[in-house]
């Protein structure tokens, strides 16, 4: 066998390996998807059973013709929160360890984060069906929950894309600290969003009080003064500019 044929053979084998790996991944993904769907169905059934009221139905002025009980949002919210927090835990372990275990966990980071993001979109959508938009945006706590949920979802979408694109490279050199810092911010926004949801449901936690100790009473709408809005827009433009400058340097 010539060297060229051998190289071709090795290439073909590698491609086959890749294909097999891919199909195994797809199969695994299907199984996970089916299991998640089954779990969601079972849980939804349980929620439906529990939400059956009894008592007297009362008419409410201005009530929307259709809305979903908060139980579905609350139920589904546990999936993104659990997945994102797991992704953060893996990032934390990988940041501080180069062990084989940590490296294995690292491989799960982006799928876990991405699944969390998918579940996050479902949760966000379900949340918006509970109250009329006009009503929930009249409530300071409602506004805050929407704001933080938007931050969390957009932030972890960014994290998922990063995880997918850069995988192990997220932990190379100084980038691991950038990854760690970004993920920590992500973990914080999840925590705050969750606690606001709890407060909105009538069960404020110690986190709610802790936020008050560090300057934010969650019963006050979180809004920025106009000059700070300008700073945020300028900051966004600056970040993009820095990104392009750095990218051009590489190119």
């Amino acid at each position: 066998m010539t060297a060229r044929a051998m190289t071709q053979n090795i290439k073909m084998n590698a491609e086959k390996d890749d294909q097999m790996k891919r199909s195994r991944l797809i199969q695994q993904g299907r199984k996970i998807g089916l299991a998640a769907a089954a779990l969601t169905l079972v849980a939804t059934g349980a929620a439906l059973a529990h939400s059956e009221g009894g008592g007297v139905t009362v008419a409410v002025d201005g009530a929307p013709s259709w809305s979903l009980s908060p139980v579905y949002h609350i139920l589904v919210a546990h999936f993104p929160v659990g997945l994102w927090v797991t992704a953060y835990l893996f990032i934390l372990i990988r940041t501080f360890s180069d062990s084989e275990f940590a490296v294995r966990l690292q491989k799960a980071i982006w799928p876990v984060a991405a699944l969390g993001t998918l579940a996050g979109f479902v949760t966000y959508g379900l949340g918006l069906t509970i109250y009329p938009w006009s009503a929930i945006t009249e409530s300071p706590l409602g506004r805050n929950h929407i704001l933080l949920a938007t931050w969390t979802l957009s932030y972890w979408t960014v994290m998922s894309v990063l995880g997918y694109r850069f995988r192990r490279h997220l932990f190379e050199g100084g980038q691991r600290w950038v990854t760690f810092a970004l993920a920590t911010i992500g973990a914080l926004v999840i925590t705050v969003t969750g606690t606001l949801g709890g407060s909105l449901g009538g069960t404020p936690s110690l986190v709610t009080k802790s936020l008050s100790w560090i300057g934010w009473n969650v019963y006050m709408t979180f809004y920025l003064p106009t000059w700070m809005l300008v700073a945020f827009f300028a900051g966004a433009a600056l970040l993009v500019a820095i990104g392009i400058a750095g990218w051009r340097r590489r190119a």
């Binding site: 002025d61 704001l147 957009s154 960014v158 911010i185 920025l224 003064p225 966004a236």
Partner: protein, 464 residues
Amino acid sequence: MTKRTTYLAASVAIFSGLLVLGWATHGTGIVKDDPERNIVIPEELTSELQVKAAYDGEKIWFRYRWPVERPSLFNDVLVYNDGNWEKRGGEALGPNPDFLTEDRVSMMIDDGSVPLFGRYGGYITIGDGLTTFTGTPETDEERTKYLPSTRTDPNDFETVLSESDLETLRAAGQFIDLWQWRSSRSNPIGLGDDGFVAEERGGDAGTGPYTTNWDSATNQPKYMFNPEVAGSTALQIDAVIAGDVGFNDTYYLSAETAIAFDPTYAWKNGDTIPRRYLRPTDGSRGDVVQPKKARWRNGFWDVTLVRDMDTGNPIDDKIFKDGGNYDLAFAVFRNASTMRWHYVTLPVSLGLEQPAQMVAERVAPGTEPDWTQPWTEITTFYPGQVTWGRLTDAQQHPGADRIAARVPVGVRHSEEQLALYGVQMEFAEEIKRQWIWTLIASLTLIVGLGININLLMRRREDVK
């Protein structure tokens, strides 16, 4: 560290810095006094009220104690200025800087005939367009609180039921009894004031403890101080404003302290006469009295009111019965504020020797309470401008369905929360608009960060 990593670190620092700055500056720039829209935000949003109750089978006593930094002994006064008597004080937007607005405590009482009251307290009495609400035009007649059941459209002040329908409601107990104590217009002669909230907030039948000391025919006061009792015919406005006139001075007009006004007297600029003349009450309105005049001591008003448990006026008053349960809600006026600038409480249950949030103690018939029982501590809060119509509309209040299901307000909201919501409601449009911009700006920042990191992160093989 490579240049790219430096860029990355700088980007994360910029992002984090903006978050920290946003955190430090959030919630500023909108909530501030706006007298043109009748908006004045009290410095303190919550305060405390202590209450005790006792009864002997014939009479029932309530004792109230609340903090007031400086007591206000005057409500409104007439001040002589270059030949004219000018009115000063009384109603004001927010605190009266001259302390010419009296302190007050009021208590609403229901016996269960108004079931919403026991769950939502005074909120049910706040319709749209009441006097001093933002956007409500000034009217000659005060648009007071009212019960929703007294209107064909509960959110429309003008849609009052017919007289006969109102009488039917009243006979069925659809009214709230209202006791009041005023530091200027009732306390100096040891009285309270007995009123109601039904189609309006009004006084019971009879005569109240004060009348206006003004003769509109002659444009001058009707009474002045009796110099033999008070030492002079008038007070001095500077001393009144400075708080130099106190309990030991003769500072109010009544049959004992006043004589007919003498226009020929040599009045000087700054001479001051109370604009109210105090008099004995009469009829159902005079049911609520004080066992003794209240005094302000050590930063607190300490007030006791007493009334017959059964006044014999069941369409004016809620009748207390031994072993009964009642719902109360209080309002405290402090820091020389009046109208809606008061501190209110959520409904409090009262039991006459029955389990309740506040238990009235039974004392031996004919004896005065010794007040050895502990105070019931109640948080008071500034309610802002929150109307019943808004609370019961699912398009404006996410909790409207809970109200329809009769879930009590205290289950879902704390007093502090309600105070903050009340303030924000006064700036609803501005805050909502700023919040939406905050949502857009922060989302833009996160997207900017996403683009930045995706452009700056690198794979090791990229370097090779």
